[in-house]
């Protein structure tokens, strides 16, 4: 079963803006990143999924249940982008209030609140007023609120925007741990390096339209491959046996004495085993093959710059 499924989900304002025909499939137990330039419609999509905006058309399901079934939100945590909480409450009281909103029984609240405070590193500050918290601490208490029901699905809208590098690492590690527990995390962030580190799949939205969805490594992997040969081979023989691949650099290997390091590139996604087979059949002694993964940032810029959204 999918954690999130949307079918042509659309939200427009007087026929303009918002996002259009978004069909997403987010598998369970994954970290899914949502990318897009400012104003692309990412927050609109997240808000629709969290019931803050009414869709203009289309359907969506969370954990297999339709969006209008609000009881599903007992298993869904949400950290809004513009987080704001009752600043006159203490951190502990705020969590107790949100636990009550989630409908957690008193006994479970008593168990979860200290646990969540520890997860977000605010145990020492639990009795201080939220208004006295720094921006980063407020974001962490917001994350704590989202984690209260031990959610199966967690929506995080820019969860590290107010955090320092150490706080970001704490959150990153926490998300990886949650994924390990089978939770699904839907992450909306501008920090591509962060998404690159932890996301299994991404979706890219541009001008309200979905232009890419899937494992971003699929389209970056296989385009460039580093091959180290034991011994050397003339360039003309290499190019002759590797149809479809362009040899973009060749030099002596720095790690293998007498070896030759080759970098191949392809405009299309080609199968690396075919490249290796071609080399072996032409007599090359293949010592090492490393698909070169390009950065998510590069992919993002390429996709966002090149693609034209559908009308």
């Amino acid at each position: 079963m999918l954690a999130i499924e949307t079918i042509e989900l659309t939200k427009t304002y007087q026929g303009q803006g918002g996002c259009r025909d978004i069909s997403l499939a987010v598998p369970r137990g994954s970290i899914f990143g949502l990318l897009g330039p400012n104003g692309a419609g990412k927050s609109t999509l997240v808000k629709m999924l969290m019931g803050l905006l009414q869709p203009t058309s289309g359907e969506a399901k969370l954990l297999g249940r339709p969006l209008h079934d609000f009881t599903v939100r007992q298993k869904v945590g949400f950290l809004p982008e513009n987080f704001s909480y009752h600043d006159w409450l203490t951190g502990h009281d705020l969590l107790r209030f949100h636990a009550s909103l989630f409908g957690l029984p008193a006994k479970k609240s008593v168990q979860r609140i200290p646990l969540v405070l520890e997860m977000v590193g605010l145990t020492q500050h639990a009795r201080k007023r939220v208004g006295s918290y720094s921006k980063g601490m407020q974001q962490r208490i917001g994350l704590g609120c989202a984690l209260l029901p031990d959610p199966e699905l967690l929506f995080l809208d820019e969860p590290t925007s107010a955090l320092d590098p150490i706080g970001r690492k704490v959150v990153r590690d926490l998300l990886v741990t949650l994924r390990g527990q089978g939770k699904t995390i839907f992450l909306n962030s501008h920090l591509l390096s962060e998404l690159e580190t932890i996301c299994d799949q991404v979706a890219i939205i541009k001008e309200g339209c979905l232009i890419f969805q899937g494992d971003w490594r699929d389209i970056t992997t296989g385009r460039r491959v580093k091959v180290v040969l034991a011994g050397t081979m003339p360039v003309h023989r290499i190019t002759a046996c590797c149809a479809g691949w362009q040899l973009i650099s060749q030099q002596a290997s720095q790690n293998l004495a007498g070896g030759q390091e080759l970098i191949f590139a392809s405009a299309e996604k080609l199968e690396v085993p075919e490249l290796v087979t071609g080399l072996v059949q032409s007599g090359a002694a293949v010592h090492e093959v490393t698909p070169m993964i390009e950065s998510l940032e590069k992919l993002f810029l390429e996709v966002v710059t090149d693609s034209q959204p559908k009308d």
Partner: protein
């Protein structure tokens, strides 16, 4: 709903406007008590209450009671409007509601919870205010309460407490429809309109001008808060039984007592306001 109500009650009683209103109420009680005391001394100087003296005592006593209830109602209105008018709009603007609406609760429970929270706070405050006003009058100005029975006292308390609930309903509706500042302005203008309508009706009745009376009644239908105040005065002063009640005509008196139908209308008005607030909030994009 009860979670929201509890938090709203707690939050409302912590707001500065509540503290300011409490201070104003204390100052009001002190001033009002002093005024009643001085008047009582003057009245005692007039000698036994019969003949022209009785009429004067009734007239002054009823005006003082009316003035006390009027300013008490005004303080209630102030608290009801200022505390609640931003309760939805400002929380949408600040993003506070994003973390609440996304929880497994119905949107209507948020509105009803806020109404229950503010409503219970206002009711407690109204009952304290009402009890204090009657106690002061009973001590210094008993002549004005000569026709007040226990049943009428309870009915008066219910009407007194209903006044801020009407304004709370209006403020919540405006808060779901408009931005905080606009909602505040509209709510206060509507409250003012009700007061002006009430005065027009009184004046129309005194000068026997039907158009003015009708205009006042029409205004009461748009905002029944002032009509409720007139009904409250009728009940507390027992104007239906008091032969001297006509002496109380004036800004703090009643020349045309509103009927019981107005009470029913006010309750329906409140329900419609709440219903519309829920209807708009359930469809609102946050």
């Amino acid at each position: 709903m009860l979670t929201i109500a509890r938090l709203t009650f707690w939050e409302g009683s912590r707001k500065k406007v509540f503290l300011v209103t409490l201070l104003l109420s204390t100052a009001f009680f002190l001033l009002y008590g002093a005024a009643l005391n001085f008047t009582a001394q003057e009245m005692r100087g007039l000698g036994p209450g019969h003949g022209p003296q009785l009429m004067l005592q009734q007239m002054v006593g009823l005006q003082l009671l009316g003035a006390g209830l009027y300013f008490g109602s005004f303080l209630l209105a102030l608290l009801a409007l200022l505390a609640s008018v931003g309760s939805v709009a400002s929380e949408i603007e600040s993003g506070l509601l994003h973390a609440i609406v996304s929880k497994p609760i119905r949107r209507r429970d948020i509105i009803l919870g806020k109404f229950l929270g503010y409503g219970s706070m206002l009711t407690v405050y109204a009952l304290v205010l009402y009890g204090g006003l009657l106690a002061l009058n009973q001590y210094f100005n008993p002549v004005a309460l000569g026709f007040l029975t226990t049943a009428k006292g309870i009915a008066g308390a219910l009407i007194f407490a209903l006044q801020p609930l009407i304004l709370l309903g209006v403020a919540l509706l405006c808060s779901t429809l408009l931005r905080t500042l606009t909602a505040g302005i509209v709510s206060i203008v509507l409250f003012g309109l009700g007061a002006v309508g009430g005065f027009l009706e009184q004046i129309g009745s005194i000068v026997n001008k039907a158009d003015l009376v009708n205009l006042g009644i029409a205004t009461s239908l748009v905002m029944p808060s002032d009509a409720l105040f007139r009904k409250l005065l009728t009940v507390v002063t027992g104007s239906d039984m008091n032969p001297l009640s006509s002496l109380s005509v004036g800004p703090f008196g009643v020349s045309v007592p509103p009927s019981n139908a107005m009470l029913v209308y006010a309750c329906l008005y409140l329900l419609v306001c709440l219903g519309l607030a829920i209807y708009h909030f359930e469809r609102k994009d946050l």
